[in-house]
Symmetry: D2
């Protein structure tokens, strides 16, 4: 039995997901929705699918699942709408930048029995997945300390920053999700510092470009996140987990696996510089995991509740950076559970 | 304009090439030939192509190029047949295990004006291609010494060994091609040693499992090749080129990019263990290069003459290993040029 | 002209410094003080020096400088005493565990015009020194974010923990000094979290074994420190500094520079497991730097003021870990300046 | 009981050995011989030893062992003379550049019952020693293939080349010794190629600057050696040994253990550039091993026979490079055994 997909939004990330669907056995792309985009026509030609309106997809009998790649402020509405229409939903993160709106959306998901997966792609990176599998297999014993070093090659455009919700909700949110996933226990306390070091204009827009966060769970496990919007050497994405019997870490990925040596020394290529190149395999794997969960009727690998929890950590980090105080999340964590 | 492909042979490597064709823009798979294989039916279903006889493909108006993935002893015949039929030909290495047969085949290619590419996939590995590009860009100055370390995870089945032409023609031949490509000058002298160290049965079959070869060009550049049929840690594929101003090297590829640390030390994953996994990107890139050469009318990236030359080096290495003398190749090299 | 040294305390660290003195050109060890130790006799034999009382050394005409390697609670007294006696002083860190006592001691140093160096050995590690030199040479532009990963192979004995002043004053204090050195600007705000994860007995003694700290300067530069009292894979000592144009990092040191590969993967040696082995070169270099400063009359590379400032950061971190609030250090920093 | 040393020759390598003697427990430097050198005076001052003539040292009652650091053409004579005088002898390699002279010298050693160690320092490098210990401990099973990559930063002065005996006797000889040590079986066959690639003047002097050698033992084990007189990136010294169950390798040593990253990529320091810096620890360890063998009365770790055997391999390699034929060494090997 084939799972029939529609992709909502033919932009950059919509194309990534369409390509992923084409690679998954038992998945077919039947429709793309994007009223104004030439990209939609290119995708229709390439994958032999229809261009339809969102309304038509909502009403279609031949669509089992939608992949939401539209602007962030439409996510929650579309999730609710397609849950009510009985379609499974894969939604790019975030569900919304406002936790109240996310909670309302989750209520609809719950009432409709909707099946919703949120796209935290990093959990599906083959290296990070191997790292997690090793932890789950007991290779390092009980997890104690998680270190996440995560730096973008450069800041996004100013107008994106304005609508992004700020560095914690836009960039660190991936690390919050990874930290929750790796700590194996909900975070209870958040401490954060944030500065403007790379570009004063980012500060003028009310955002930060450099941040450090300490997360702590009830049993005292800790995660540390270090972020910058500027890494001249590429897209820096490292994870290290210390456990009682050992450590496991995932290395960066270079643009090429070759090395020069000359009188100045030994030279390796910069890192892969773009999130879509760095996480190509992860994007394919997350759609495959979504399709597999639909096929098997098993639990969604990442739920909208995971999206909410990461957003709460982002809000808490911002509050801590502004107040200079540790922010406790216990009550909220219980709600999510 | 789309280049229309037929794949001859639906075995393991035929499937690899079919997948590659499906990924190349402007290429289409229209037919698969394999009279007895269930694999042919699976490919026909997956790629929406016909199953046809080789005769039918030879006569077809809707086939521009064939990819020969049949047994080695059919390669030369099929190359000649499809050159005469006016189809472009991509042929898995080797053209034949006998240099006289290869020369006769080349004569037909020449007479028919045939366009033939031989599949030395390693030249298309992204890392090796980056290494070569760096040399061509002058990053290490004039090439002096090439080091090729190439070890298989394990020996092939005994019946394969019997028909393989021996380690030099079956395994080292890839290194001979790489050495020619990297030295930038034809090889003039070959010295080799070969032993049986991993399995006496291989010796009983008249073959070796461990070999070292020194190649030397007219200007004194040298390449050294070290081969073994057994590397417990995976498929070991390294290249290092020393030039007048520096060195460039390509590293191995591990099964995962993670590292453990414990009281015993630091532990990395074994190497990718299978040539198809290790060279996935190379197989895709070589078909893309073939399609691009057809589209542009440009020279074939690797010709049947390259195949002949590598085979001559293999024959010379075997002769040197048996005689204990350096074997000179000058006359033969001139014939090829 | 030779600088004549006396070493006070013939224990483990006293022996390290005696060996260092023996390697420094223009330095001579003339006396060792340790009334009860067989180690003192061994040192006297090995280096051909006298065993004397501290009183005798204080009064001696033939001693230019003392190296204080006695228990921590004697440091401040001995510094004052030898400053008053007109001897140069090298003192193992810390000056004292109590900042008030350190300030009083500094007052005596100031009044006597004493020349005092405090032994933060890590600044003299050849790799860390090369990293600092690179920053000072402008290789990464303005410093933005410092990452210090510092883990001990195992916790010290319980009775040591009891008198150590706690993890921040005993272990993290080295990282506080490194952070100050590398940030190039005084720390203004400290945030910390601390837990007991490796051994509940450490918690019962009122200490922690796992800690993370964020430091922030007035201009927004940040340093992050991650500490654990247990790293099964050896003594983990890494530094990474992100600047506006690049990053520079110092790697760990393994017990041997060899690698195994087998069917389980690739295996490197554990890290050097003991601070004296890991920092052998640093201990020699710090005494050489002290001797050079005495010879040249130049400024002490690390002053007692540096010792005070690191201790203030340790106190602030403890306060932050206990209160959950960021602790500001501005006024204190001004006092130190 | 202290072993009393005299060093013959106060040049660069003589100073290295004097420093090593000073570090060995139970060893004392009592005399240095070098009639014309200011270096001798400096050493006498630094180590508190006498300056004496070689005759005086030969006759001295207070000298147990000599370290011969004089020009190569005096080595064999001095070995014979001090063996006859009943002193133990440590001699820098080579004993002589002529195998007949070496054999004659060995005869004297045998007749006098002399205790002679030849200084192949690389066997005492901590990494190479760890690699060998791992092989001996069975970590990789039976040894199959040895790879030695050995490149000098630059060629020696022309007048040194003239008297050096050529690249095989001067440079590759270290690799011949390492190959013998690691193969665990005597070499039976030698094949070599040599060229002039870095400097035509070297060719004009009758020498080569680039060479590759294949060695083979009776059981078919092989070693491959690749040499160049020019490596712009430093002193390149790598070893890799493939065995039936795994591989073990020793990495190069960089001038510093730090890494830069910037828009051009990741940059490591060049290699240590000078044999004395690279092999500092090895020089100290070999003298310690010599002293230990004298103290214990145990076998010399490296004998003059080892020196002869390496020289025979060098001669065979030169002959192979000139003749283009494999050179067999069986009879000679039996003589040595």
């Amino acid at each position: 039995m084939t799972t029939r997909f529609a992709v909502l939004g033919a932009g950059r990330i919509g194309q990534v997901h369409a390509r992923a669907i084409a690679q998954v056995d038992g998945a077919a792309l039947v429709a793309i929705a994007d009223p104004i985009s030439a990209a939609a026509e290119a995708m229709a030609t390439k994958y032999g699918c229809d261009i339809r309106s969102i309304d038509a997809i909502e009403a279609a009998d031949d669509v089992d699942a939608v992949v939401i790649c539209t602007p962030t402020d439409t996510h929650a509405d579309l999730i609710e709408r397609f849950c009510r229409a009985g379609k499974a939903v894969f939604c790019e993160k975030p569900v919304d930048l406002d936790t109240a709106r996310v909670r309302a959306c989750l209520q609809v998901v719950k009432e409709t029995g909707g099946r919703v997966m949120v796209g935290f792609n990093r959990r599906f990176d083959p290296d990070f997945a191997a790292l997690k599998a090793a932890i789950d297999a007991g290779r390092i014993g009980k997890v104690e300390m998680v270190t996440l070093i995560s730096r973008d090659p450069g800041a996004p455009p100013y107008d994106y920053i304005t609508s992004s919700g700020g560095i914690f909700r836009d960039m660190t949110i991936h690390d919050f999700d990874m930290a929750r996933w790796l700590l194996g226990e909900e975070v209870e306390t958040v401490m954060a510092q944030a500065s403007v070091l790379t570009d004063p204009k980012i500060g003028a827009l009310g955002d930060f470009d450099s941040a450090n966060v300490i997360l702590r769970t009830a049993s005292g496990r800790q995660a540390i996140i270090t972020n910058s919007r500027r890494a001249t050497y590429g897209y820096d994405q490292r994870i290290e987990v210390l456990g009682e019997t050992g450590m496991v870490s995932a290395r960066n990925q270079h643009a090429a696996n070759i090395q020069f040596a000359d009188a100045q020394g030994f030279h390796d290529a910069p890192l892969l510089n773009f999130f879509m190149t760095r996480y190509t395999a992860a994007y394919a794997a997350e759609i495959a995991a979504f399709a597999a969960a639909l096929r098997d009727g098993s639990a969604m690998p990442i739920t909208a509740g995971d999206g909410l929890r990461a957003l709460e950590l982002a809000d808490a980090a911002l509050q801590s950076a502004q107040s200079g105080q540790a922010v406790r999340l216990v009550a909220s964590a219980q709600k999510v559970a």
